[in-house]
């Protein structure tokens, strides 16, 4: 569709949504890729945002990690020098009552630091000003002090050694999870056999997962203070208890098997909740199939859906799937393209059916096939939900953009 045709198409939809402005004046050749990208945000006819903030970092990030209700950490992943930044979200986002009187829309860089490795994984240790990072190359992790009021520099304070029981294993860095309680402890590993719990202050290993399996990890999640779940990129899920040395419970992905042929990658998320037994787990495959299981029966699927994603050759680090912490049954998916999709899993059934997203944030890229000029398509590298605000998310993409958005649930709003 040419720009003009698209304009006509948009004009014919009369639902009063926000249309693009001012762009017709500019010749198409004057529109930078960034402008075209933003065009799509403003043109979104079915998309409503309560809030939308668009930022451009100097270097793209693959990590977004909350360090408080108002601050996040991002970091670069280039092979050599990178920055770790702690950003404070704009006051306007949180000024719920007097939003109109607050003009401040910018990120504030409250702390920053330098590292000479890529940052592929970053975890904040709750209750502290510490963060742990992994470079995706070795199983060792770096420990950082995010800084307080007296300094704006993020400093490296130490490292945690990982172990590699099997040598010559494929690359892939460690997954990291921080134990919710104090004293601070870090659960980490690159594959199941490596998973261990290390005390941050002493470096002492408190627990090691008893398993010989070389399944590579895609994520680690604490379900309670002692029980954790390890999601593997082959779809296996292990549940273990750090208090016992018993072997972990293994659950492969439920049948029927997802398309054979090219190897399929899986990503996992576990819903948080006061009662771990009520926890649900979502598995997402690189072919776009999502499976929701109960913690008590991870071998079976309570519901499943074929998501409306642009499947492509993915790397193990590309895709993120996450349960909304403050919304029932909502799942966010990113990494297949330049969009972040929100799905309502409550309408999924045990039969595999196609699901349409409840909401799609397409601000990072117009379309995934946009490869004119030989420019590689922009992909979303990461997303996170705000821990308390139900519909606020942050997303980052390969072009260095970071968006903060608060979406409106169209199904709940009146149609005009």
């Amino acid at each position: 569709m040419t720009e003009e045709e698209e304009e006509e198409d948009n004009n014919s939809r009369s639902d009063g949504a926000l249309h693009a402005v001012g762009w017709r004046r500019r010749k198409r050749r004057l529109l930078s890729p960034a402008a075209r990208v933003h065009l799509s945000v403003l043109r979104g006819t079915h998309q409503w945002y309560k809030d939308l903030h668009v930022y451009q970092l100097e270097h793209p990030t693959q990590v977004i990690e909350w360090t408080s209700g108002r601050t996040v950490c991002v970091a670069g992943f280039s092979p050599s020098k990178n920055e770790i930044l702690e950003l404070r979200l704009p006051r306007k986002l949180f000024a719920d009552e007097n939003k109109g009187l607050c003009a401040e829309r910018d990120f504030k860089v409250v702390h920053g630091g330098f590292t000479d490795r890529p940052v592929r994984c970053l975890r904040h240790v709750p209750g502290t000003r510490c963060a742990v990072t992994g470079d995706g190359l070795s199983s060792n992790l770096q420990v950082w002090d995010l800084g307080g009021d007296d300094s704006d520099v993020i400093r490296r304070t130490g490292s945690i050694e990982g172990r590699r029981r099997r040598t010559g294993v494929s690359e892939g860095g460690s997954s990291i999870a921080a134990r919710p309680s104090s004293p601070p402890q870090i659960l980490h590993g690159a594959q199941i056999s490596d998973v261990q719990l290390t005390e941050l202050s002493s470096g002492q290993t408190l627990y090691q997962l008893e398993s010989d399996s070389a399944d590579p990890l895609s994520s680690l999640h604490f379900l309670s203070d002692a029980v954790f779940l390890a999601g593997c990129s082959n779809g296996n899920i292990y549940v273990a208890d750090t208090r016992t040395s018993a072997a972990p419970q293994l659950s492969p992905p439920p049948p029927p098997p997802v398309s054979s042929g090219e190897s399929v990658l899986w990503w996992t998320d576990a819903s948080a909740g006061p009662d771990p037994s009520g926890c649900r787990v979502v598995r997402l495959s690189s072919s776009g199939q999502a499976l929701v299981s109960d913690l008590r029966n991870l071998g079976g699927a309570v519901s499943r859906a074929q998501l409306d994603v642009q499947t492509r050759r993915c790397g193990p680090d590309d895709v993120r799937v996450s349960w909304a912490p403050a919304l029932d049954d909502c799942i966010a998916v990113s990494g297949f393209s330049g969009a972040v999709q929100i799905y309502d899993a409550s309408v999924w059934t045990s039969e595999l059916q196609e699901a349409r997203p409840l909401f799609e944030h397409r601000g990072h890229a117009v379309s995934p096939e946009q490869s004119d000029d030989g420019v590689p398509p922009i992909l979303v590298t990461s997303h996170v939900w705000h821990p308390e605000r139900p519909r606020t998310l942050l997303s980052a993409a390969s072009d260095g953009s970071v968006h903060v958005w608060d979406w409106v649930d169209q199904s709940a709003a009146d149609k005009r």
């Binding site: 009063g16 762009w23 945000v41 903030h53 451009q56 704006d152």
Partner: protein, 601 residues
């Protein structure tokens, strides 16, 4: 060592005003003279006591340069020039010169009439101050005096904003004022050449922010206007006559076109006149470096935007009105506000900062009941929106500017040092330059390494090149001998002979004489001959002559032989050489002291 001193005037950590003193090459320059908008007492003025305890500043300052018309950069100018006292030149760009007095007068009116202040500058003072202003064009070098020259560069940010390059001899400083690195609809991005100043001075206020995209701000603005119109409300947008107002007009015009909206948009006539006047200035100004980002149009040929008439404010139904003044402190915008404030369907959008004492300032602070003249209260029921469209550089922008200008040192003002360590580290790492962060009132000294240009005479150059082969050998540095003459303001290097000639002096000759005793049984002439032979075999490549007058000459060194009176076998050699052959002479005397080898014939 030569040095440049930079002192941000002011006290404590406050960042509300800009006034920086620079001492360079014996010249003192004041950069900006802003008012702090948050204080009501003398703290709002910069602390000039640093320059002199009492008395006028004229003798202590060589010039004052103002970067742009925002009050936190020029608000204290009339106070400084007329109440403290300064009669020297004040430099600013043409648009700044045109707009400053208007803003200053507005500000004065608000402060004196509304707030009843007494220790403030008068209208006449503003006029007298502006008489001292010398306007600058972009990229034009201006000689302030024989040694000090300045040049203005485009800074973006607001109409007429400039970054300024200051040069004394071979030392230079660039001050950025407020600038932005991403082009606007009606303003371009800041630009400077690779001037490699000794110091680049920049505000640090925005150095640690990452700006929300302009399109998001615009989206928010349009959304608010649209929502108000949809519910039948009226939108008041108080503006100053130019810049931002045009941008918002262009935005609304195209939005109206796309959405096929029918509600009227008005632009008050007072604005039209002023705007047209400034637009002409605007055109000549923005022709520099704007290119594609500037949309060439006649400013008021909008399809959907019409001239406003007072009576329209009472018309029913939705509408949007742009009116002056920008802070709702008087005039038409205030009149309209009073009419529309009581209806919650309406909205007022404040696109910029409002000075204390104005209605704008009060409603932005959440006040919902206002006291008007005659003790009447106004209930503010309409929606108040504060939107900032100002274009400032951010963390990325500072790095871009440093990359452009390539300064040798960086100075960041108006920031807390403790909160700037990361940026300092970033600059030092990426550019390997020192980054200073003086607190207000603190002086930092930056040593510079100025290069001193010296002309070398062609003869001297040719002569030096002739020695030791055609190409210089970097491993064997050779000392060049010449004379440095400093005449008037130039330096030149010439050969010694030429220098003596120019100065009308005679060259003195220095000769050394040395006596060496030698045991030799031969006759004097034979001894001399033996010496000659010996030297010829040792000093190959040197000119050695045995002259008929009974001397041996090695280059210019003269050797004579005579016998001692007591003993004819004891010969006394007299060696004499000129200063130029000192080395050879010393060598010969040492050599001959060892005696002659026996095998000589």
């Amino acid at each position: 060592m030569p040095e440049i001193k930079v002192t941000p005037l002011g006290a404590g950590q406050d960042v509300g005003r800009s006034c920086i003193l620079v001492s360079i090459g014996g010249k003192n320059i004041m950069l900006d003279c802003g008012m702090h908008m948050g204080y009501n007492d003398d703290r709002r003025f910069p602390d000039f006591s640093y320059i002199t305890q009492n008395g006028r500043l004229t003798d202590f300052l060589d010039c004052v340069i103002i970067s742009h018309f925002h009050l936190d950069h020029c608000g204290a100018l009339p106070y400084m020039s007329e109440m403290v006292g300064y009669d020297g030149p004040i430099y600013m760009t043409h648009p700044t010169k045109a707009i400053c007095p208007i803003l200053l007068e507005d500000f004065r009116k608000i402060t004196v009439d509304k707030k009843g202040e007494t220790n403030f500058f008068t209208s006449q003072m503003i006029k007298d101050c502006m008489k001292k202003v010398i306007p600058l064009n972009l990229h034009q070098t201006v000689q302030v005096d024989d040694e000090l020259e300045i040049k203005a560069y485009y800074a973006g940010h607001v109409l007429g904003a400039a970054m300024v390059h200051i040069k004394v001899g071979s030392e230079s400083v660039v001050y950025t004022g407020d600038y932005n690195m991403t082009p606007d609809r009606h303003l371009g991005a800041a630009w400077i050449d690779k001037c490699r100043p000794d110091i680049l001075i920049s505000e640090s206020t925005y150095a640690t922010t990452i700006r929300d995209s302009k399109r998001c701000r615009e989206r928010d603005f349009l959304k608010k206007v649209h929502e108000t119109i949809e519910r039948g409300g009226k939108v008041l947008i108080p503006v100053f006559a130019l810049g931002r107002a045009q941008e918002l007009c262009i935005l609304l015009e195209t939005f109206w076109e796309r959405m096929n909206l029918k509600a009227p948009i008005y632009f008050s006539t007072g604005l039209t006149e002023k705007a047209n006047h400034y637009y002409k200035l605007f055109i000549t100004w923005t022709n520099q470096k704007i290119r594609k980002t500037f949309v060439q149009r006649n400013m008021f040929e909008f399809k959907h935007i019409k001239a406003f008439d007072r009576s329209y404010a009472d018309n029913p139904g939705p509408m949007v009105v742009f009116a002056t003044p920008g802070m709702l402190h008087a005039g038409q915008s205030l009149q309209i506000f009073k009419k529309w404030a009581g209806n919650e369907k309406n909205m007022v959008i404040m696109p910029g900062y409002c000075v204390q004492g104005t209605i704008g300032h009060k409603i932005l602070n959440g006040q919902r009941k206002l006291e008007m003249e005659g003790r009447a209260t106004l209930d503010v029921k309409l929606q108040v929106e504060y939107m900032s469209f100002s274009a400032h550089a951010d963390a990325k922008g500072i790095m871009q500017l440093i990359r452009m200008a390539e300064p040798r040192n960086m100075v960041l003002v108006h920031g807390e040092a403790v909160k700037m360590e990361f940026l300092k580290g970033k600059i030092e790492q990426e550019f390997s330059i020192d980054c200073y962060m003086p607190a207000n009132g603190e002086t930092i000294t930056v040593t510079t390494n100025p290069s001193v240009p010296v002309d070398i005479s062609l003869n001297l150059l040719k002569r030096e090149m002739a020695l030791g082969g055609p190409l210089p050998d970097p491993k064997k540095p050779r000392t060049m001998h010449g004379t440095l003459i400093m005449k008037e303001n130039s330096l030149k290097l010439v050969s010694s002979e030429q220098a003596l000639k120019e100065l009308g002096l005679n060259e003195h000759q220095l000769r050394f004489t040395c006596r060496v005793q030698l045991q030799d049984p031969h006759s004097d002439p034979d001894t001399l001959h033996r010496i000659y032979t010996h030297l010829k075999s040792v000093l190959k490549g040197y000119t050695i002559q045995h002259l008929p007058d009974g001397t041996v000459m090695v280059e210019s060194i003269v050797i004579k032989v005579s016998s001692s009176a007591e003993d004819t076998n004891t010969k006394v050699l007299l060696l004499s050489w000129s200063y130029q052959d000192e080395d050879l002479g010393s060598f010969l005397s040492t050599l001959l002291k060892k005696g002659l080898p026996s095998g000589l014939c």
